[in-house]
Symmetry: C2
Subunit: 170 residues, 2 copies
């Protein structure tokens, strides 16, 4: 992932409304249908996407640039019960906005939000091992690889490949 | 965990019926209320326990010894979509039946069942690091530690301690 020459001063991250899903769905569909970064079934439909991204999480956010929604993330407890002090998040960026630092800005925003909500750490359970850009980005934001599960992801081109568990304290 | 002097020839493992939950619930409550091995909230009530153990999983089994239900396990895909070739399971043994190989027998049964259902691997996401007996048992049954997440479990006596990710191919 490259960074913009000047910082994304015009990027705002805010809580998503129900109406925002109309803009989130094309981003979700594009990312998930490729089947190379998220474990969600590539054919996931709009109803299921809305459930996964808007209903199940604790919070959902969008990133806006010049009035357009260019990214989205969710935040939730990674476990309930005796593990609910650890947050989990997922991030998606519109194809047209890639390489501009949107994911990085959303990651920083999610870390601040999780900290403000009282979470003590953030954990990603399923970072596809071929997603080198994401792995480097999370490492730059303080995450460490704490697990590597062999053959756990069915990549459309690479077959069964590992996924990483990544973690950082807040 | 010790093993019985003679094998558990009288132990049978079978699919749980809805009626079996009356016998499963006391086992679940005893294990979960201690708060030292499962991430479920220690105060989890009967309705939620039934949902977690009977409804959400793909299959639930019970282990019977001398006509009494002495253990139970669930089996489900660990992820949906592009990770649904990996199974997940959880096991509980009645206090009175501990140390007799019930967990071991259920683990073997679950591995056979998962294989028969077409799963390619089994993964445990949250093996509490202080649960040495369980860790040794899973290792004896071919599981390897593939991840260790720091501070992710709130143990009632030990505070924030790691949980292990364990995995084996089938």
């Amino acid at each position: 992932m490259s960074y913009p020459a000047k910082p994304l001063s015009a990027l705002t991250v805010r809580v998503a409304t129900a109406e925002d899903f109309a803009s989130i769905w094309p981003i979700f569909r594009a990312v998930v249908s490729r089947g190379d970064t998220y474990v969600y079934a590539p054919e996931t439909d709009e109803v299921e996407a809305e459930r996964l991204w808007m209903q199940l999480p604790l919070r959902t956010y969008v990133a806006e640039l010049g009035g357009a929604i260019v990214g989205t993330y969710y935040l939730k407890p990674n476990q309930l019960g005796l593990g609910d002090h650890v947050a989990n998040a997922g991030y998606m960026v519109a194809d047209a906005a890639r390489g501009q630092g949107v994911a990085s800005a959303m990651c920083l925003h999610s870390l601040d939000t999780a900290r403000a909500l009282g979470f003590k750490a953030m954990q990603f359970n399923f970072v596809v091992s071929s997603n080198h850009g994401a792995i480097r980005l999370w490492e730059r934001h303080g995450f460490a690889v704490v697990g590597r599960v062999p053959g756990v992801f069915r990549h459309p081109a690479l077959g069964l490949i590992p996924a990483l568990v990544m973690h950082r304290f807040l």
